[in-house]
Amino acid sequence: MSAKQIITPALRAAVHAHSSKLTPELSKSAAAYLSSAPTGGKHTLPDLPYDYSALEPAISAETMEIHHSKHHNTYVTNLNASLEKLDGAVSSGDVSAIIGLQGALKFNGGGHLNHTLFWENLCAKGGSEFPTSGPLADAVNARFGDVETMKKELGAMTVGVQGSGWGWLGFDAKTGRIEAATCPNQDPLQATTGLVPLLGIDVWEHAYYVDYRNVRPNYVNAIWDVINWSKVEERLTSAQ
């Protein structure tokens, strides 16, 4: 077997499973190396950086366990299955099948991307305060005036998502500013809008129904307590 045949699956798995821990330079070069290889490779459910109960009382252990081990896991499983089908369609040059798979890829791929980002932008209450100075504070103040206004605006947009979707804080590389945005279903922020995701808030009912029933505003208000602001800032400085 050639070096590429041995290294590629392992490297691909490393890139996908631990992409948040790789430096941007390494991810980019790994992606370039892999881009000549066929699609896919096995994606895996990332471990949470904390216990299921770590985000209580904002989000219960019960919710975290079902959300992570069932919902996110299903996206990963179905993404892998869709990518396998895509490999087959690409190899046989079946354009119609390639196009037909786009819905499942967006849904399951988006679900995997979004949830991976989500777990990492959460942490135990008290684990991360919003910084009073630095790049994140500057960006928030420039766009919203102050952090409380940002929470109010982003919160309102996020609560207002019709049906299933996500609220996002994103970075616009063209303007150099941060923006608040929402996306429906599992549509991933960057592929859909071009904004680099900094902070995601899941408002699919499965994210909050056990703890808050239909009262989505209470969930969105509570989630501010468990945001990992240093992770948000790290994503911003990487993107700037």
Binding site: I66, K70, H71, T74, G103, F107, Q162, G163, S164, G165, P184, N185, Q186, W204, E205, H206, Y209, V210, R213, N214
Partner: protein, 229 residues
């Protein structure tokens, strides 16, 4: 002798009396569909979700020319014209319809030899094929949505799915809805968590109110009208 004043007064009060849509009660009560759907589920789904759509719709039509129109009229008029009103009016319609599509000890196949059973066989080949298509639609409505059985004027049935508040009466030309299943997560989360397929199976095997579906079929074929809600 009916004076002009009396006539105007009568008209005014009858218009005002029909001004708002009232949240219909659950046909079977909160505990009526246990253990398929729990009482907490029905309570929150009906008293919170459905009620909110109804109240929001009523406040949005107040003082407009849609104020004393039927629910169906409001849905059709707002489609693609007023998204906020449509989201609430269509969800009010969809939920009122959904409750009636279920009953205690329902589900299974419609009575053999009935007009409905014949229509299913003609349109799908068999009940099993209908069940397969309906399950697939319900399970693959990515996100929040609904699965539907619709009927056109010629009695041809088909299955479709919609996202959000969409209703095939406006969003397709396939026909009139005669059966629906709510697959927004709030419809099943407390009882089934992420296991939507289990909820769909239970809906089809234990809950579908085929008598109501038959009435809707007759009405759709006779007059092309949706169920009265």
């Amino acid at each position: 002798m009916i004076t002009r004043f009396t006539l105007l007064f009568t008209l005014a009060t009858s218009v005002a009396a029909g001004a708002t849509y009232e949240l219909p009660p659950l046909p079977y009560g909160k505990s009526g569909l246990k253990p398929m759907l729990g009482s907490k589920t029905l309570e929150i789904h009906h008293d919170k979700h459905h009620a909110k759509y109804v109240n929001t719709m009523n406040s949005l039509v107040e003082g407009t020319n849609l104020e004393n129109q039927s629910l169906e009229k409001i849905v059709r008029s707002s489609y693609k014209k007023n998204q906020a009103l449509f989201n609430n009016a269509a969800q009010a319609w969809n939920h009122s319809f959904y409750w009636k599509c279920m009953k205690k000890r329902g589900g299974g196949e419609p009575p053999a030899g009935s007009k409905l059973a014949d229509a299913i066989n003609d349109s799908f080949g068999s009940y099993d094929e209908f069940r397969k298509q309906f399950s697939e639609a319900a399970n693959t409505a990515f996100g929040s949505g609904w699965a539907w059985l619709v009927c056109n004027r010629k009695g041809k049935l088909s299955v479709c799915k919609t996202i959000g508040a969409d209703n095939p009466m406006v969003s397709t030309s396939a026909g009139i809805p005669i059966l629906t299943c709510d697959v927004w997560e709030h419809a099943y989360y407390l009882d089934y968590q992420n296991l939507r397929p289990n909820y769909i199976d239970v809906f089809l095997d234990k809950l579908v109110n085929w008598e109501y579906v038959s009435e809707n079929l007759e009405r759709a074929m006779d007059s092309g009208l949706c169920a009265e809600l």
